[in-house]
Symmetry: C2
Subunit: 411 residues, 2 copies
Amino acid sequence: MKATVITIGDEILIGQIIDTNSAWIGQQFNEFGVKIHEIISCGDDATQITQALDRAKSTSQIVLMTGGLGPTKDDITKKTLVDYFNTELELNEEVWAKMKQFFEKRGLAVLEMNRSQAMIPKASTMLPNLKGTAQGMWFDIDGVVFISMPGVPHEMKHLMETQVIPRLKQKFTFPKIIHSTLSVAGAGESVIANMLKEFEEQIPASIKLAYLPEFGVVRLRLTGSGEGEALKKQIEEQKAKIKAALGNFVYSDADEKLYVTIGKMLVEKKATISCAESCTGGHISHLLTSIEGSSAYFEGSVIAYSYDVKEKLLGVTHKTLQTYGAVSSECVTEMLDGLLKATGTTYGIAITGIAGPGGGTPEKPVGTVWIAVGSQEKKLVKKFQFFTTRMENIRVFSNAALNMLRLFIAE
Amino acid sequence: MKATVITIGDEILIGQIIDTNSAWIGQQFNEFGVKIHEIISCGDDATQITQALDRAKSTSQIVLMTGGLGPTKDDITKKTLVDYFNTELELNEEVWAKMKQFFEKRGLAVLEMNRSQAMIPKASTMLPNLKGTAQGMWFDIDGVVFISMPGVPHEMKHLMETQVIPRLKQKFTFPKIIHSTLSVAGAGESVIANMLKEFEEQIPASIKLAYLPEFGVVRLRLTGSGEGEALKKQIEEQKAKIKAALGNFVYSDADEKLYVTIGKMLVEKKATISCAESCTGGHISHLLTSIEGSSAYFEGSVIAYSYDVKEKLLGVTHKTLQTYGAVSSECVTEMLDGLLKATGTTYGIAITGIAGPGGGTPEKPVGTVWIAVGSQEKKLVKKFQFFTTRMENIRVFSNAALNMLRLFIAE
């Protein structure tokens, strides 16, 4: 069983947006054992879309399209599908009524152009989109399922989760695959691979190990083809061996973000957290607050970019900044002290470094970062050196800080 | 003249990595007027790569491949190209010597496996990769140029800039396309489309308008095929009409992020900024500091998630929080006052709302947000209501706040 993904939109071809939809769809399908044969990105052009559909149906039983369903003239996916399947549009009264409601609720006038979005091809099953005005469409033609979804990522995900995946699971019998993932931080991919050398030599051929690195975190995924308790047990045994080999580099038994794990630890300890961020400019706080319920433990932060704010809000002394500079053990320690005094949280993270591309010196090159984590009683201060671009440094610095906090709390 | 991009790698199809290479290549080609006909992502599979090459050469004069050039067994792009072009590999002594140097410099032993990376197809011109061990290859066969590059983004970019683009410009005379983009905030896609109804009726057929919405910002792109001052002038005339129709919804004459525009405004005014963020949890500060040089105007922020931090660090009164709640005009005003007092910056942004999915009430549903922007002299306070998911609310709230600040500064 194979699937093809077609992402439609001139904006993809000219690089104005990065197509993240197909990677997300690829992940989902990989989870339940369906191979993505190919991803095709084509323009808002009927001939191109038609050719992509022809090719897709020659190799795949499932064809997933995203994009080109907006209310504006350049969006022609629906029209092309109507021609391709030799059908016609009809007004779906229910969709139209909901759409009018949708706009009214927002205090907006519904526009004539939105009415075109309530027109659904007769040959399709409408997949209701509760997050926007472009409905999904499901065509089941000669044993191949063609699914058209909007290109807006959260609308596409919503349709996939509530409509497409349940319907596909009903229609097809998917092959069985068992995945089990561990999350690791504090070491790069090659260091981990080296620690797992012996492990890899003994792993049964029926189980595969994949390394998924991202910004200083590596997820390790074990995959076995088949089903049943025996295979599950076998995979869990392998997982236990990885955990034994990697020790406390493993921060979660599951595929989990570091800030999620930390959230759980803080909830369990009924503890609170605050941050004093310089070079990460709010990114650590953003990560911590990106999950629901984070207000249970995240109290707040001070983003201290300038010397002035470091002094005024965190009580870093002028002398420290003058003598050692902002990127120093002394400064990060004072930042943490000042933070805990100001917020009174159980734990604190302080971070100061050089994200780049400017601001480096021979002694403190771009990628240098000082991190302090701790509580009123105890502090841990450490220097790291990374070697990447500004945005990536910000992300890698953030994970390094969160990982230090994790180890500190666990101790 | 058309080009096809083929990105090769199983890790793309299973969503392990997001393919950013093709978007980058798309941007480059768009700049010099070559249309990307299609982007194909396929697996590390000889049949699939061969089929993609067949299709690509039937529509395109330029075929760009990335990925599958690593030293491991699963990387088969080079072998497939050798078969496809009926050629053979030979050791490139120069590459081999450099590769040995490359490893020595990093204190690593060169592996026999790496020797395969110094083998270059006879039918190709080798494109030297100074950033890694996988060399680029250039095949010029029957009027079609096939280029193979490594998948590591910075190596691919390096090869494109130093080798591929100069060679392509020498070989081909590129057609001309003129793009011109405007950036708009404060209104959604359909509201803007409605304001541009008359404009769209008069736009010459030779010029196309595309809407590119993202988190409350919409980029409007005009595209004309051709070259010369006349077309340029015509596009600029159309652009002026859009600006007239949309007024101060237009925040930039270019394709620009809102936080970049604000950075420029602040630099020009020699002004500084700080934020008091509740519901956005540091995201506005993260955006403002994601660009180089932001330390010239961004001083810092207070992320005040809890009542306690709102009181302690921003001086919001307990009475206000008790009487009106944190999501109120009163609270956001006190947050802004306290912020400006604490940081002393020229301008400030304060924001408090309900990102969701929990925390909503009938009077203050999820998506409610109060924003205050201002200086010591003057304040602007406004309530917005959005209707999306937590992460998207955080992004849309952030852009709404930045847009309010923009309008405030511009006044």
